[in-house]
Structure formats: C-alpha cells, structure tokens
Symmetry: C2
Subunit: 700 residues, 2 copies
C-alpha cells in the first residue's frame, strides 16, 4: 500500500483573476501611446492578499492601473503581496488565438524552475508566484480578450496528508497565537517576504526566519507562506511552487513538514490569524519524468469552467462622451504607431481655431479640424441658413432653414457639439467691417471691430473663409498686427487658392525699419517673409458686392472644389504646426508653379528643405480642376501691401479705430497709407517707357 492510498491528496485552490476596469483603461493608453505596434511581452505586477479568510472569497490575483508602474501602489496600500507578471498584448485577435499557450506557460515555468535551481527563489520567494496575462484589446469596440495563467510546477506531483488541515486556533492557545503574531510582525517589518520559516523554541516561543535559513534551522517546525485561500481545508496556489522549491533544495525534509498557511485578517476591528491552516505533510509523490524540467500548468478556466479566454466589453459601462473622446483620440494616435511616430498631436489638439465664415468652406474646414483632433473652434458669420445651403454647407440641415433660417455661426457651433460633445465651440454673429462699406453706425462698427480683434487675439489660427475679398482685409491686418497664423482659402468656379499668410511676430513699434526689403530674396522664403492675400494687389480692397448679379453674389463653384480646398487648408495648417519652425517654416514650391507671380525656383525633389513630418509646407496651393493641375507658388511680402505692410500696421497701432473708420468709408486712404498711391504715380510717370514684359505683375 502506498502512502497515497493510505492518505489524502492535498488540493490547492487556484488563483482567480480580478481585473479592475482601470487596468483596461491604462492598457488602452499604454497601447496607444507607448506600445503602439509592439507585441513584445512586458513586465507588469499584480497582487494578492491573505486578509479575507472569513470572507470565503476566491483567492484573487488582482491587476489594476498600478500594474503598469514600478511601484505598485495597490500592493502597498492594501498590504498585498506583489506578484511579477508578464503581459503579452497582441495586435490582432488572430495572434491572440494563435499564441502557443503551452509554450508560453512552459517558458514561465522554466524561469521559475531556474530561479529554484539557482537558489534565487530561496532568497526571494516572490519569484515563485508569477503570472502570465495574454490580451487582445479591441480598442475600437472597447472589447478586451484576456487569459491569465498562474504557472505552477508539477513537482512534487502529489502531496499526501494523514489528516485534514487544521485551523490554527484549534492548534494553538490564545497566548501562543498572540506570540506567533508578534513574531510574524517582527519578521515582516525587517524582511517582508511572503514565505518564511516559523521556529518554535520551547523557551523563547515563536520566531520567524527567512526561507533561506531552512538548512540551518533544525528546530524548524513550520514553513509559512501568505495564503490567499479562505477555504478551511485547502491552501492557495502559491504553496505549490514553494513546495517545489523545498523539494529541490531539501527533499529529505518534505515528508513530515508542517506548513503554515498564513491568513491574517482584521474582522470587526480585531486582528485574526486563527483561520490560518496548519498542514502536516505525510508524504510526497514525484513525477516519473525527469526532474530537471518539471511540467508546468496553470491556465485559468473561464466563466464556463473551460480552459479558454474571457472577454470584457467596457463600451456599455463607460460614459458615452468619454468613449467618444477616447475613440477620436485613438484614431489619431494610430497614425503614430507606424506611419508618423514623430507626429505631435497635442500641438494640434491644443490649437484654437477661429473660422471667419461658416459657409461651404467653414463647414468643411471645421469638420476636417475636428477629425485632426482640434477641440476649440469658433465661427464668425452674420448670415442665416438659407434653403440652398444644406446640400453644400455640411453643418446644416433642412430644419435650420425654416422660418427665415437659423443664424449660421451659432448653428454651426451647435452642430460641432452634436457631432462630438467634447468640442468647445462658439458662434459669433458678426458682420466683419469692410473697406468701402460706408459706416453708418460708427459706435456699432467700433464694437464689431473690437469683438473681432478680441476673437483673433484669443485664438491661435485664423481661417479666412468668407465670400468677398474685402471682408478678408480687416482680419488679415489684425492677424498681422497680433502675429497670428492665417490660413486663407478662396474658390473660383473650378479653381481654388489655399495659402498661409506670412506669420510675423506680434507688432512692436521698432520693426518698421528693419523689415523694409524690396528686392527678391535669394533662397527659400521663411514664413515671416511670405506675403498675405493682399500682397499681390496694387489697389486697395473696396466694395465688390454692390451690383453683383445673382451668379456673382454667391460663389458658383463645382461642388467638389470646396471639399478639396477645405481639406488642403486644414492639412496646410497642420503641416505648419508640425514644422519645428511653425509659422516661420520656409515655403516650398512646385516646379510647375505659375509664371505670373514672383517665384523662387526650387526643386523639392532634389533639395529637401522641409522639416515637417507631413511633407512640404508650401506658401500657397493653387489648383485647377479643369486640367487637374496644382501649383505651389510662394510670394514675398509686399512692402506696400494694404493689409500686412508695416506702414499700415503702424497706423493701426497708433490710431486704432480712427484709422479703421477712415478705411471703411474711404478705402483709397489705404493706398495713401501703404504707399501704393505713390507707387501708382511712379508707374504713371514711367508709363510710356519701354520696359520688358516680364516685369509686369498680374493683379490677382
């Protein structure tokens, strides 16, 4: 008769995994921001406690957001026992399924076995309680597939008992319990390991020692370990590898060994260690295979009691707005995984954009900005939604047109929040004062100017998307004065212009002299040397809306043009923002650039001057749908520009609204201030001269 037949085989309570949802949120973040495409296993930590003996809870191994940190806060806070884990998060569900589970757990078993062989586990028994966590995070759906393993070596293969484990308060007196507790506390304070030795000295009572002392302690009665189990008959999983360690190093002492399954809870304000178990090992059985590499097992069963993965769907339990927020972020961050790791999404997300015009361009620009993660968008428009708008202006629907139409700026801002509740969007119903549009109510207009100036000042990028040339003058001038980045888009019937204005430093009175430059620059133009929308003009903007026929009143365009121009306008902004020089980024031009504007001939394919991870950062993009042609002209700032020249800005800086009022009522004054009038005189006086044709400039 074998001892097996005469005794009882000891059964161990396996760990049950407990995953805090904070773990998944943190994993999501790590996957997006840190791991990206990598599916290499990473170290994480988990913990268990031995503090719930009377709760009859399963033996929980917990992971949470701290599992990704070196210092696992939950372990310290809850007096838990730290466990080393290995997380392997696959990129696809296929890979998750395809991982060789036996190989994975064997590898971990080998590691434990090696730590036993080397004696490392004797010095640090926490090396014995490892876990594996295999995951696939479907971040699009907030579904997480996972499978835990708690590897345990089948060595010995069986532990045989003579009698049932006994609860400690049935073995020790109250005094003895108290004494043991003190001995343990003393040990824990100095050593802190989850496995220990308990020496019972007839004279001195109990004393605890580190595990490594086993060979030296002949009087040792018990081997103790912090036991996650709360069953009155069974110890928890960690004992298995602990017994393997003892079996390897002290095989001779295993039969007859007493094991203390240390359970240490506080119940009703009272510390209780009496639920700890004492187990007397009668005999052990070893596997028949070679001992040099014991078998390893320990994959957790799922909720159906099968060896298999589990899935948790967090989408239903999460706040929908937060879900939307993460989903939008995720989509953007995916760009960084493989394609553009150097992309700085925060710069884009934190950019405040002011859209002047909430029409076809304004709507599509806002949508493209949102797709790029921009959260702060303000519209300025003074129109109302009309019946022809919704099919072209993508933030409005039929219901916005009824009864005279909703105000556009406000409707557009509301729509952005309906699309994505995280938007900080505002609509300002404001008519932009314009040169040549005679001012009747000066006080009102002065207020409007202030409102516009404040709005520009509070934003980082100003988009000019209005439908007249002259409505772009004031914001162009104010943006130059305030040193803001301006992105300008304008449509023809089947042509488009998308450009950035040369971005200057905010105005300071000293700059007039230093910036005067009239000649063509050599080499690339940096951002602050680039022109604005008005730099090609040799006449001041005036009232162009009077006397326009119906087809001139609205922008009659091929519908596809506005999508193309809006897409390019936002991509140009993002390219500028991603450039290390920002608005001062050098302008790149195409070889096929127009010949009627001043050009700086460069071949981008030959000479890489772009510093933006998104590619070339042109000054302007002109497209011609009729021929599917696109050119990238760059033009220098014009010293006599009516909008951005230091002469004009200086006048505004000095006189403020008084100057503007003059401009609104008499745009010719701009030609005086900017020096254009003198230029006209000069040109008139040389009119009859014979000068070469190529010096002509075409007025845009």
């Amino acid at each position: 008769m074998t001892s097996e037949e005469s005794g009882k085989i000891l059964q161990f309570l396996p760990f049950s995994s407990v995953i805090s949802s904070s773990f998944w949120h943190k994993l999501t973040q790590m996957k997006i921001d840190v791991y990206a495409l990598s599916d290499e296993p990473v170290d994480i930590t988990g913990y268990y406690t031995n503090q719930s003996a009377s709760s009859r809870l399963p033996a929980c191994l917990n992971v949470d957001y701290s599992s990704f940190e070196n210092h696992h806060a939950s372990v310290v806070g809850r007096n838990g026992i730290l466990c080393q884990g290995l997380l392997q998060n696959t990129n696809t569900f296929e890979a998750f399924k395809d991982i060789n589970k036996q190989a994975a757990i064997n590898k971990c078993g080998e590691q434990i076995w090696n730590d036993i062989l080397s004696g490392a586990a004797l010095l640090n028994p926490s090396l014995l309680t490892r876990f594996l966590l295999l995951t696939f995070a479907d971040l699009k759906k907030y579904q997480f597939y996972y499978w835990f393993a708690f590897p345990t070596l089948v060595f010995p293969s069986k532990i045989i008992l003579d009698e049932e484990p006994k609860e400690l308060d049935k073995v020790l007196t109250k005094d003895e319990l108290h004494q043991l507790q003190q001995a343990y506390d003393q040990y824990k304070a100095t050593c802190g390991q989850s496995a220990f030795l308990v020496e019972k000295n007839p004279d001195l009572g109990f004393k605890c020692h580190p595990l490594k002392e086993l060979a030296n302690l002949k009087n040792t009665t018990w081997v103790g370990f912090c036991d996650p189990s709360s069953l009155p008959t069974n110890p928890g999983w960690p004992l298995r590898n602990l017994l393997a360690l003892i079996a390897y190093h002290h095989k001779e002492r295993l039969a007859g060994l007493s094991v203390l399954c240390w359970r240490d809870e506080v119940r009703d304000g009272q510390r209780r260690i009496g639920s700890s178990l004492l187990i007397e090992i009668k005999d052990v059985v070893y596997p028949t295979e070679n001992e040099t590499n014991p078998k390893c097992l320990g994959w957790e069963k799922n909720e159906r009691g099968k060896l298999g993965a589990r899935m948790v769907n967090l989408s239903n339990s999460m706040d929908p707005e937060r879900l939307a927020n993460s989903a939008v972020d995720l989509n953007l961050k995916l760009m960084k995984w493989r394609l553009l790791p150097e992309l700085n999404l925060d710069i884009v997300q934190n950019t405040k954009c002011l859209l002047l015009g909430a029409g076809t361009l304004g709507c599509y620009v806002a949508r493209t900005l949102m797709a790029w993660g921009v959260r702060h968008i303000t519209f300025i428009d003074n129109g109302r939604v009309s019946y022809s708008n919704p099919v072209r202006q993508s933030l409005y629907t039929f219901k916005d047109c009824i009864n005279g139409g909703q105000p556009k700026a406000e409707s557009a801002a509301n729509c952005l929040r309906e699309i994505f509740p995280g938007m900080i969007s505002l609509g300002i119903d404001l008519r932009i004062p314009m040169p040549g549009h005679y001012v009747t109510d000066a006080e009102e207009i002065e207020k409007d100017v202030q409102l516009l100036a404040d709005a520009i000042n509070e934003h980082d990028v100003v988009f000019l998307l209005t439908d007249t040339r002259e409505s772009r003058w004031l914001p162009s001038m104010l943006s130059a004065y305030l040193g803001k980045l301006v992105i300008n888009a304008a449509l023809g019937f089947d042509t488009y212009l998308v450009m950035r204005h040369g971005q200057r430093e905010p105005w300071n009175p000293g700059q007039v002299q230093s910036e005067k430059s009239k000649g063509v620059m050599r080499g690339a133009l940096v951002g602050r040397q680039l022109g604005c929308y008005f730099c090609n003009d040799v006449v001041a903007p005036g009232d162009s809306t009077k006397d326009r026929t119906l087809d001139q009143q609205c922008t009659v365009t091929r519908p596809g043009i506005s999508l193309i121009a809006s897409g390019l306008a936002v991509e140009l902004m993002v390219s500028v923002l991603q450039h290390p020089e920002g608005g001062n980024a050098s302008a790149e031009i195409s070889t096929a650039a127009m010949t009627t504007v001043q050009q700086h001939q460069q071949e981008p394919d030959n000479k890489e001057i772009s510093g933006s991870p998104l590619g070339v950062v042109p000054h302007s993009i002109r497209g011609f749908l009729h021929r599917h042609q696109q050119v990238l002209p760059a033009t220098e700032a014009f010293y006599n520009c009516t909008a951005c020249s230091p002469l004009v800005i200086k006048r505004y800086a000095e006189e403020g609204y008084a100057f503007l009022s003059e401009v609104f009522n008499n745009p010719d004054c701009l030609e005086q201030v900017s020096g254009l009038a003198d230029l006209h005189k000069d040109i008139a006086s040389i009119e009859d001269w014979d000068y070469p044709e190529e010096s002509e400039e075409s007025n845009d």
Copy 2:
C-alpha cells in the same frame, strides 16, 4: 367762362396690378433657365376683365404664369381682355433702382402714339392698353421687387362732362338692354376687340362695329370699350388712350361723343350689363405743348400711395420643401448663366448613384453628389456607427453612436433626407461577400449577392468606397457584367486614388473573342478599353482583414485626404456624364504621370482631346499630399483581370452563384479562370531569362 369751368372733369380709375405668385415662380424659372444673365426687355401679356362691376373691386391688371406664353390661357379661360406688356428683369437691385423710369414709360408712350398715328391702333385697339413691368428677382431670398406702369398719353389733357356718367339700366329699357347685349355678343363673336362702336338704328335697333368704321358711321352714337372699372362714376384707364386715338383721327367728333363703358358680369346666375356707364363728353382740352408727341404717365403707386416699387417676399408663403428644391436647383443653374452654358444638369440630377460603403468617403461623396443635384442615392454598408466615426464621417453625430450604434447605411440615408427632403435615399444593411472570406451560410450569401446585383442593376453609377480591396471585387465584376459606370476611391495615409473603371457594354456572350487585345494601344484609350481597379493585379484578391493590426483595420489617413478624394470622385463622375461619349470618354493623362504603370504619353496642353465641358476626364487620379503632387495615369484593361476580364464575366454569366461560391471559398480559382495561373507559370518558366527592366510591372 371756359367749358372746363362750367363742367366736370372726367377722372379715370387707374389699373391696379395683381400678380399671381405663379407669375413669380414662372419668372424664377425663366430667369434661371432662359434669360440667365440677359436683362433685355421681353414681351409678356396681362389681362383685365370687365366682369366685376358689382364687386367694387379695383380695376385689376393681372399677370400670372401664362403671361410668359404666347397663348395666354387665363385670358381665354376668364373671358379676359389681353394686354401687351414689356417685362424688364434686372440682374441687380442697383440696376432696378437705376433704370430711368420716365424714359422707359416715354418709350412705351411713343410706341402707343405711333400705333395711333399709323392707324394700327384703329385696326387693333388692344395696342392701346400696354403695360410695363420692371422687376428684380432676388432668387436667393425669394424676394421680388417690382413696379408696374400703365402708360397713358396726356391727350387730350382734360375731358369735360356736363353731367355725371349714367348707368346703362337708367338709360335703356330692359328690352333695349337685351338687344344691345345680343348686338355686342354678335360683334364679339366675329371681331372680338375690346373697343367697338355701337350704332343705334331707329329701325334695326343696336348694332356693333369695329372701331375702324368710325369715319363711315355717321349715326354712330356710342364708342364702347370693355371697362375694368366698377365705380359708378368713373371709367377705367383704357379709355384714356382710346380717346387719344379718337382725338387724333376724329378730333371733330370728340365733343359730344357718347362713350359706353361696357361692364358685362354674371351675378347670381344672371348676365348683367346694366352697370355699364354711359358718358357724354361735353368738351375736351388739349395740351398746350406740341401734339406730335404727347406726354406719357402711368407709373403705379405703391401700397403707401407713393410712386415707388413694391416688394413681395414669397419665402414665407412657400412650402419649405419646395423652397429648398428651387434653391438647390438655382445654385446649380447659376453655373450655366455665365460659366458653362453647355452644362447638362438634368443628366446629373437623373443619375442614380449606389455608394458601397457609408464611411468617411461614402459620407463626403454623398454630400458632394447632393451639391451637384443628384437626387437618388443608395448606401450599402453593414457597419454600425461607432464613437470615432462622427468626426470623420460627415453624416453621423454623437447620438448615432450610443447603445452600440445605429446601422450606418440606414442612418446615412436618413441624414440625406434631413439635409434635403427631396432626396430619394435608401440604406441597405449588407455585407458584401468577398473572395477568400469562407462562406458558412451559403443560402444567406446567395441572397446577399442577389441583393447587391439587383442594387447595381437599378443604379447608373456605382461608387466603390469600402475599406478593403477584396470587398471591391464582387461589385467590380457585377458592374462590368451589367455595364455600369464605376467610380472607385481608395485612401492611403497621405495618398489617394480616384478612378473610373473602363465602362463596357452590358455583357453579351459574343464579346469574348472580339475584345481580346493584349498589346499596348496607340493613341488615347477610350472608356471601354480602360482597366478596372484589379487590372494591375497579378494575384487574386483574398482575405486581407485577418490579422490586421488596429492601425490597419481602419484607414488611418490624414483627415484632409478623404475630402479631397471624395470631391475628386464626384467631379470625375460628373465630368464623365457631361462628356458626349459618357463612360466611353477617352482618358487623359498628366505629363508627370507615374512611371511604374503602363502609360499613354500625351500632353493635354498641346492636344485637346477632351469633349467634356468640365475639362479633362482622366482614367485615374493619384495624389500625394506629402509633396502636393497629382498624376493622371491611364491603364489598359488587362485580359487576365480577375474582376473585369471577359473570361471571368463569362464564367459568372454561365454559372452564376455556383461560380461565386467557389470564389468566396477559394480565391485561387479566380487565377485559374482569369488565366492568371497560366501567366504565373509562363513567368516562372522565364524567370531566369535576361529581360529588360522596363517590362516589369509593379503590383499596386
């Protein structure tokens, strides 16, 4: 004492204009479709009646939708009196205001005077009752500014009466009234003019004669005219020019002339002419100025009693859906006024579009189609709206994402109708069966195939906008089989491909032999020779979704790209539709086209091969945002193409679903059917040969 002092001066009741809203709708249509930019005066007609004597209504001159027709239906229907009018509709409000009103009415007065001088008005007295209508139609706001003139010659300048006009039933007996009525009816039946003579023959009673008989009828007692006035004391406006006619031709008979103001109504089922007035002219005063060109007046006063224009705002009274319809139409038709008169908008509007995929591309393509006036859009998609969608997919909002998300196809279709109620939009929740996606439920899949085939058959243009290559195979093949135009758009991170598939005739079994051509064509490729999305492939499409990482599962793209590609896709479709050859239009390419695909070198700037009013109609457009480059490669249909080759189509035509089922489960069979497998063998056998590099083909 002058006769003026001894008598009463006759006052005439001016016309009051009455404009049916149908007039404005018709004017809107004429302006948009016919007049366009022209503001030349055009002939219209109006009418008045003499049938409301007892109603005490003003003397109405009516215009309505029939005013633009030669045959004025309302005149005939209501027994009205036709008036010739001249409509001048200006292009701008400024022009409306600036028209010289006096000059305009003088011109019309001259015309009347000339008709008097020439005697034409004697033969046709309706030449005397002319009107002018000056309008400005603000078609964007449905506001119509207008001003009527009823030109009347101040000749004589005064008509003096001895006594008040008398009502006819106070002058004639009942019998005489009856007799007069019969005489008038007889006259009207044969002559029908609004002015006439009434001869009272002591024997024969009353007889009516045309006006031209005045000289011959010595016994003439009365000059009659159909009188729009219902006042018991005053005749209507038409009498003034009638008296001018008589004053010129029969000046001697004016003093003492009896005028019959003919009022002819049916009241309570009884015909009544007794309210007609009889006026005895005592004397006349002529203007002191020269008689050769009498003064003309007659501009209508507005509702405030001032000489000035009126405005009617129809937007509030119109059905909002109809307003939206017209507004959308207007915006498109404005293109035809100046820019593209040859544009055929009906072709576009009547095109039924099937969009496969309701994601980023699907949403923007649908919006661009709507802006072009397309009314019939169907989506096929089997996804649900997820939280990351709305910021990129422009037909969804946050609310569509909650609780697992709405089905995309249906949501997108609903949104189109919210944007524009005139849309005929449908969403079909269908997963497109794909090669290599193993079929588990064959019956279900067969139904899906049939549903897809039916949908393609019922539409004119199929857009391929899905996110995998293999989901495009079945619709590509079916569209080739059914001879539909296919527009394909696909995105990379910062690249895009927009192409049309070569459009064939619907399949007929005879075409296999005739279309076999392997060599490079010389000259431009016409539409049916062009390749499809799969023509560059040398392997069959298979399951590409298995094993894709998160950033490969969704299309990670620069957000601007999808707007650009969607805009181009729709513009390409419209360019094809506008081309006289339609889908068979020759493909044009750019000079900078890619060098890795088979090309047909042509220089569009030198050789105009486009027949589309919208410009070049390329086969494909490939764009690279990184460099802002765009090329227009054209590639020939590949005889061994897995999607569009006659070999594959033939198999489908012969075997139907049995063939497809084989393809879904084993895409390699496509390589057998298409002959690709043999090609592979051929290539393998010549692998070691030394062949020139340029014959290599790069797999797209």
